[in-house]
Symmetry: D2
Subunit: 131 residues, 4 copies
């Protein structure tokens, strides 16, 4: 399985007084990586949003392995672990330039319809991700 | 004019690698102070939101006077400078426990209707703020 | 075991375009709850920071059960699941006013010394939390 | 004067329940643009940080012209308005793909030495920016 990767540089806004990336911030960076990854699969998240359907994170497991300093050039991976009828499980490791592992993450995303109910993945998304 | 004040303690999530409050973060803290201030005037922002009307910041002038460190107990002021037909100008100074001035801020807020057009302040809001 | 609880109201800055609390934001809110909880145990996080010791989150498991809307009055719990020599495991459920469960979270925190090495919990912290 | 521009796509983490970019968030995006701009001038902000010198925003004037929606592809400009001995004034307009103006911003940045005192711009920075 080839992993999609997304580059991201750590600036002051990502860090806290400990001098390293703030722990909540990784989830924001991972979201940016997922957008780029979905786009590469032909899925425009903002258009999906306008039809009222959206991906929501149902579960997140994060292992913080090593702190990432100011200025670090991160590489955020996106790899599909499992595609279900109404959910996708992704692994999103965050690494440094020299392949240092900063964070390991597994996220389960569900799909929600305009009424807010869990619904199957949009067929075009399921097709795209199955490729 | 009596100034409304809102207490806020600086935690890691508010700071950056310089060890002090990140400059964007003050705008978030000021929003929290405005909610508390509007609530005290009987205006529930979330209910206003459900009717489609919302306050939007049209202009913000910020003077960062002194960096606020981790753990600082801030006091965020809210003082009306001017109430217009469709906008309010507020001063929102951020001070420390010993009255140190960290940030001076002036914000102009407008009101927007469900169609996204600038609209007069809701009468109940104008009445409340005029008191 | 009595659970410590921390109140928090959802404002615009906590939400995203889906109209509910953004998934990363809960980790920031949980940090605020932990500060209040530690303080109640006589542990001042900012002072600990000045001695170079800090708590770092080593692991976080989040289950997003239900979206929390704008204006929601959250109650963030802090309950000790386990105190080890160099780490603490906490549960931090986020509930609504009517006890709706929004998020279930388990976090493992470690303690780091001035050199950045994992170190035992400061004795005053261990003592405080053991009470 | 040629303006430096930095591309940025709006994802959920940038927005709030009004469906558009949250007002504080623009300051974070502008910081990212300044890093890219300084880097293009041969100034590595993270290295500067390690020598204890840092740029701090002393003043920010923001005019929010139009809300930027989810998915918008922003272009953040960086243009020098004035270089002083110890401060730089920048304009940082945020535009959409079709040149819509979302935010106009003017920021004055100062330079701070390891003791936290305002200090002259590092010579290499002054030289780079004067080019």
């Amino acid at each position: 399985m080839t992993e999609f990767t997304f580059p991201y540089q750590v600036t002051y806004g990502d860090t806290d007084a400990a001098g390293v990336v703030y722990y909540a911030r990784y989830l924001e960076i991972m979201e940016r990586a997922r957008w780029a990854w979905l786009e590469q699969h032909g899925v425009a998240v903002a258009e999906l949003h306008r039809t009222g359907r959206l991906f929501v994170v149902a579960e997140a497991h994060l292992h913080y392995r090593r702190p990432a300093p100011l200025g670090a050039r991160l590489t955020v991976g996106v790899a599909v672990e499992r595609v279900g009828r109404a959910s996708i499980t992704l692994r999103q490791p965050v690494r440094g330039a020299d392949d240092t592992l900063f964070v390991e993450a597994t996220l389960r995303l569900g799909c929600v319809d305009p009424a807010g109910k869990v619904s199957p993945l949009p067929p075009e998304v399921a097709r795209a991700l199955a490729r």
